[in-house]
């Protein structure tokens, strides 16, 4: 009966009930939408970055993580990669050799970062194949190919098929080798289009004397973007002592830190919006309490206990919350849908990546974060109930005579 009365009380004031639950709905929809979008953006950004610049677990020479010294290399990398693959057949294992150096054409010479990659494996995880302007992605087995950014190509005044000389330094010695430009790409990030050079791993390995089959990192990747719990231990077992084995969080602390900061900012804003919504509900409920004081006095005259009045108003708040949350949830989903289906092209993202040197997919799509949506929806119902607490307790404190006297 209390439930029915509460429901009817709300229906009796359609305007006010609508305004109050509208407040909840609007805020919830807004939160759900931004939350799904933010999650989507981060999943993409994290996924691209983890895959392209480290791995879910990454094997590097001991001390490389701290020093980022390109002289620190893992020797016999393919033997290690094979061992890891045997131990973890479900993973993809790829090697990269990252060197600092110089690229020179007859016109100019420019300092660059050179990545030696396994053409086929890298093609599957890198965004650069989609950003090719001219030529083709690297071909496994063809030596002497390089891919360079369009800006760099302009600086060097070279085009497809032109000769360039790569010079790398390793253990104090400079090694130079001629290459041909097999393709150019535009990532959209000025410094990367100017700085990033890709070549086949075996060709680059040949330039380093005195070390067999070197690699900077052996990247172990899985489906999805969460790092499986046991992966690090199992890779460590396959690798044995010596090189360092890191999870993505350890290899890319900046990335995870940036995600954390961004999400904290998000929570701050959401909680603020939630507070505004609850003040809105509180206001409506308080007003409806003032307007109904006499009616509540009558309920008291008929012998309804103070706790009964509290229950009644809490139920009203709860119903408002449930209704608003439902509405907001639906509206939030509806707003998310086009973002999941089509996404928006957010070209600037490449300039804002927390970890530089990664080409990112700029088409940002939202995801449905069901767990978070559920939590926020529940949170809003709770907010509504909390907001009704004050009016409810006030109703419970009303003196019967006083309420009957009010108009």
């Amino acid at each position: 009966m209390i439930f029915r009365m509460a429901l009817r009380n709300l229906i009796r004031r359609p305007m006010q009930s609508f305004l109050a639950s509208g407040a909840v709905a609007g805020c919830l929809a807004l939160i759900i939408w931004t939350c799904n979008f933010q999650d989507g953006a981060w999943v993409l950004l994290m996924d691209d970055t983890i895959r392209a610049s480290a791995g879910h677990v990454v094997v590097q020479a001991d001390g490389y993580q701290d020093a980022k010294d390109s002289n620190l290399l893992v020797a016999d990398s393919s033997a290690i990669a094979t061992k890891i693959r045997q131990q973890n057949p479900e993973t993809t294992v790829m090697r990269r050799l990252i060197l600092g150096g110089m690229i020179a054409s007859p016109e100019n010479s420019v300092a660059v970062g050179i990545s030696g990659v396994e053409a086929e494996a890298e093609k599957a995880v890198s965004q650069i194949p989609k950003m090719m302007v001219d030529g083709e992605w690297l071909e496994a087995g063809t030596s002497g190919q390089v891919l360079i950014g369009t800006t760099l190509a302009k600086r060097l005044q070279v085009g497809l098929g032109d000769k360039v000389v790569l010079t790398v330094s390793y253990r104090g010695e400079l090694q130079a080798l001629p290459f041909r430009v097999a393709g150019t790409f535009t990532i959209g990030n000025a410094s990367m289009d100017n700085f990033f050079v890709l070549a086949n791993l075996p060709t680059l390995q040949e330039m380093l004397p005195g070390i067999t089959d070197p690699a900077t990192m052996i990247s172990v990747q899985v489906e999805g973007y969460k790092v499986p719990a046991g992966l690090k231990a199992s890779v460590r077992e396959a690798v044995g002592d010596g090189p360092e084995v890191l999870r993505a969080e350890e290899a890319l602390p900046e990335l995870f830190k940036a995600e954390e900061l961004d999400k904290i900012g998000g929570y701050f804003m959401w909680i603020f919006i939630g507070i505004l919504a609850s003040i809105g509900i509180l206001n409506v409920l308080l007003m409806s309490l003032f307007q109904r004081t006499r009616e509540l006095g009558m309920l008291q005259a008929m012998g309804m206990r103070p706790s009964g009045l509290v229950q009644l108003l809490l139920t009203e708040g709860f119903l408002l919350g449930v209704f608003g949350a439902l509405l907001g949830f639906i509206a939030g989903l509806a707003a998310t849908y086009p973002m999941v289906e089509y996404g928006i092209d957010y070209g600037m993202i490449n300039n804002q990546a927390p970890v530089s040197g990664v080409a990112l997919n700029t088409l940002m799509k939202a995801v449905y974060s069901w767990d978070k949506m559920a939590i926020w929806t529940g949170f809003h119902v709770l907010l509504a109930v909390l907001a009704s607490l004050w009016p409810a307790l006030r109703a419970g404190r009303l003196e019967a005579v006083e309420s009957m006297r009010s108009q």
Binding site: G100, N108, S109, S169, E254, I279, N283, M348, S356
Partner: protein, 407 residues
């Protein structure tokens, strides 16, 4: 008018809780906008400091092909006379010449590396970019025949202040220039590229590259931001063969960020607009509903509908004023907090976000310009009055007889 305002004011205080809650909600919305504006202003400032103040200056002058090719042969012709010409302009504060090139470096223990080579006028650079403040160890350039090196290069070469740096470059006359310089300082400019290289006094650089008194780049700081385009135009007119570009033409990313910020602020303004409109409609509708009888009485006393509307609009306007004041108060408090204490966005120790190869300062201090503080206030006022129209219309549509008959 006077009596209407008095009635409107007293009506507001018939339900102090309601009025306070309503203006609190709207005020918090305004405060949030002001706080956000302060935060975004602080962030943009950090960004501008990192890009404009520490590197780009207001204007840059190059050989007309240089921006495209960055070819070291494309030097500014007759640089000295250009510099003198610029320094004569009253709007110009500082002109700093630079040589932007690329060198190969070696330290004492045979480690070799390649990186950027920047030749500067130590005094001008000190005034322009305050590079001397970015020196972490040792001191800034003072005399000829000495070098300061970036912290990344220092690490790579295992070189410290007091050590010797061997520089090898391709001179412009086709010869190989090499020279040994004592290292007098290690800097952290926050620019990834520059931190992997070294800086030298201008004359030494010109000598090493065998380029006479040529320079690649003239960086201009004007007296004020508004003068940038004036100086750009007059310089372009005086030297039609040179490329004269503003910082925002060189680094559109920074400008893009500012534009994105405008969109974000718009989004927030929209939210407060929605929230305040909602709250005002809610509050005033309720007060009109509960005063149905009283409004009927006004009508029966012969108050023309226009003045009833007026009265309700004054009420909503007063609510807007109240909210604006509250919002301004809270918002300024938030801004003062942010301006004095700042918020740390640390990605790595001592380093903030990395934006397009530039490391931002980790602590963001609030920055607010008056317009940004006033816009939300204006919006709230406007929305309040507009939102008052609906309840006001309802009030005048009431037939006095019907209204008086209502209990």
């Amino acid at each position: 008018m006077g009596i209407l305002t008095a009635i409107a004011w007293r009506n507001l205080w018939r339900h102090p809780t309601r009025t306070v809650l309503t203006s609190l909600t709207m005020g918090l919305g305004v405060a949030f906008c002001i706080f956000m504006a302060s935060w975004i202003g602080g962030f943009l400032d950090v960004m501008r400091t990192a890009t404009v103040d520490r590197n780009l200056g207001h204007l840059q002058i190059h050989h007309k092909d240089y921006p495209e090719t960055m070819n070291p042969y494309d030097v500014v012709p007759q640089a000295q006379s250009v510099i003198e010409g610029l320094q004569d302009k009253p709007d110009v504060k500082i002109v700093a010449p630079r040589i932007q090139a690329f060198g190969m470096y070696a330290g004492a223990k045979d480690e070799a590396a390649s990186g950027s080579f920047v030749g500067v006028d130590p005094e001008a650079e000190k005034n322009l970019t305050e590079m001397h403040k970015r020196v972490r160890k040792g001191r800034w350039l003072k005399n000829s025949r000495e070098a300061v090196i970036g912290h990344r290069l220092a690490k790579e070469l295992n070189l410290d202040v007091g050590g010797e740096l061997l520089v090898v470059v391709n001179a412009l006359d086709g010869s190989i220039g090499n020279q040994v310089y004592p290292v007098v300082g290690i800097y952290n400019s926050g620019m990834l590229e520059r931190d992997g290289g070294a800086m030298f006094p201008l004359q030494d650089a010109q000598e090493l590259f065998a380029m006479g008194d040529g320079v690649h780049e003239l960086v201009v700081l004007t007296q004020a931001e508004e003068k940038i385009e004036t100086v750009q135009n007059s310089t372009t007119n005086a030297y039609p063969d040179l490329a004269v570009r503003t910082w925002y033409e060189i680094s559109p990313e920074t400008k893009q960020m500012e534009d994105l910020t405008a969109v974000t602020s718009f989004f927030f303004y929209f939210i407060i607009m929605a929230i305040s409109g909602f709250m005002v409609v809610n509050t005033l509708l309720m007060s009109v509903y509960e005063r149905t009888r009283e409004l009927g009485l006004f009508a029966s006393l012969g108050l023309p509908p226009k003045r009833v509307v007026m009265m309700i609009l004054i009420e909503s306007g007063l609510l807007g004023v109240l909210s604006s004041l509250l919002g301004l108060g809270f918002g300024l408090l938030g801004h003062l907090f942010l301006a004095n204490y700042g918020i740390t966005m640390e990605i790595k120790e001592g380093e903030g976000f990395i934006l397009n190869g530039v490391v931002l300062d980790p602590v963001i201090f609030g920055q607010l310009n008056m317009t940004q503080a006033i816009i939300p206030l204006v919006i709230v006022m406007f929305v309040s009055v507009v939102a008052g129209l609906w309840p006001a219309r309802r009030a005048v549509k009431l037939d006095p007889v019907v209204a008086l008959a209502q209990e």
